[in-house]
Amino acid sequence: MASIKNILLPDRHLNQVVPTNGFTTLLTFFTSAAMAFLIVFSLAMSFAADRLAQSWSDSLANSATLRVSAPLADLESQTAAALNVLSNTKGIASFRLLKAEEQQALLQPWFGPKVPISNLPMPRLISIEEDENGYDRVGLRLRLAAEVPSAVLDDHTRWREPLVKAAYRIWFLGWLSIGLVFFIVISMMSLVTRAALSSNKKVIEVLRLVGATDQYIAAAFVRKFAFRAFFGSMLGAFGASMTLLLLPSEADQTVILAGLRLEGFEWSWLIFVPLSFFVFTFLTARIASLSILRSLT
């Protein structure tokens, strides 16, 4: 399409035939910058939530604890029986008996460091790591009930669910807001273009009088808007990245909003922000201006 060439190649004259209203320029530029800023933040939020959800569900979903709580006398044999059951279960990557110190560390908040746990009639804890396929929870429970009645399988679902749910909700909200912001960008660009064209009726009339086609007139307007949106969104994305870099980063990733900073390849998503602004604005402005031009006879 010749008109796309018109838009992408610099043509001083095409830019000139349409008057520049400094305030409309600023408005487009500023809107794009603000919206790109929001998009980068939403992206960062989504990515952070995704990482968080991933790490939570990774560390919790694939692990379970088997608790064998029998009277001291039976404890060893029951534990051995439980270990035996586990070693015959498909879908378990590894399992191991927690050492006394580990158990103590887990209980420390309640008992304090000084309690000699090994002397207590404590249950034994076996930590289980699932493999990719996972094991059959119900089957394992049934077998344990039969062979090691004192064993309780705790697969952490209880803890995991609300946290992972919250993380996915943030992730969802992030993408939802990206969608919303693009919707707003498209609507605004459409309105700004239409407003610009309909307040330049006289210019359009003159251009038509001297034989300009609709394509030519539209291209002159669209170019301006697409480039403003492109540069505005570059500025906005850059500003947002700087802000993200300046945010205090915390080692503790599990605290929500601590790890808002983008990581690794996630930064490469930023390239798409100005690009998508350019494309969206280009298409929106083009459709809007051709429709306005058709309505002005």
Binding site: P19, T20, V203, V206, L207, V210, G211, A212
Partner: protein, 221 residues
């Protein structure tokens, strides 16, 4: 042009049967509000007749696409009654606008431009913006813009309304010269002196709009 009618709601012009032949020189007169501008607008495709067949350069108006109208206008130079310009471009750029809009690579015509500016006595104002021009200067600039592409047809709506008699004579002489080069000229005007002056040097016909129709006026003017 066959039994062309135009109506803005009410009928303004009806049953026009006229054919303007290549290379002729016409004046269009009639009282204010009689439809002179409307007639010219139909000729350059700004208005489409509400009934009847209008054909320009052999093409029927009912079949014009939007782009065809644009191309048509490149062959017709129009001096609009309101003398509209792009206020953000200077006079020279405005006059050169038709070239840029249509071809875009015509440095050869820039010689034309200077001569043209001289012809309409606007050389000294070529860098001014249109709002800084006087009424007469604007009309002369509009005429210059209309003829820069050396179109086949020149339609001028009241080109001398704001211009003093001396300058009017000069402009009409320019148009007469263009007519001698084979171009069709149609001028809407109230100025009977202008018509008389022109008739002295070219075989100009006068069309009169009255009672919704166009008639060829006698030579009694």
């Amino acid at each position: 042009m066959e039994s062309v009618a135009y109506s803005y709601g009410e009928e303004l012009l009806s049953e026009l049967n006229i054919s303007i032949s290549q290379g002729s020189f016409y004046f269009l007169t009639g009282p204010s509000g009689s439809g002179k501008t409307t007639f010219l607008k139909m000729c350059y495709g700004s208005l489409i007749p509400t009934s009847g067949n209008l054909s320009v350069f052999g093409k029927d108006s009912s079949g014009w696409s939007r782009d065809e109208i644009a191309y048509l206008r490149r062959k017709i130079g129009v001096v609009h009654q309101d003398c509209q310009f792009l206020d953000h471009l200077n006079v020279a750029d405005n006059i050169a606008l038709p070239i840029k809009v249509s071809a875009r690579n015509s440095l050869s015509d820039s010689v034309n431009l200077k001569e043209l500016l001289n012809w309409v006595s606007l050389s000294h104002r070529s860098k001014a913006l249109p709002p800084e021009l006087s009424g007469g200067e604007r009309q002369r600039a509009a005429l210059a813009r209309a003829i820069i592409m050396s179109p086949d047809v020149i339609l001028a709506d009241e080109p001398t309304g704001n211009i003093d008699w001396e300058m009017s004579q000069r402009l009409i002489r320019l148009l007469i010269e263009l007519n001698h080069m084979g171009k069709t000229v149609v001028i809407a005007t109230h100025d009977l002196n202008l018509i008389r002056f022109t008739k002295a040097s070219v075989q100009a016909r006068v069309l009169r709009i009255s009672n919704k129709t166009v008639q060829l006026a006698g030579s009694d003017l």
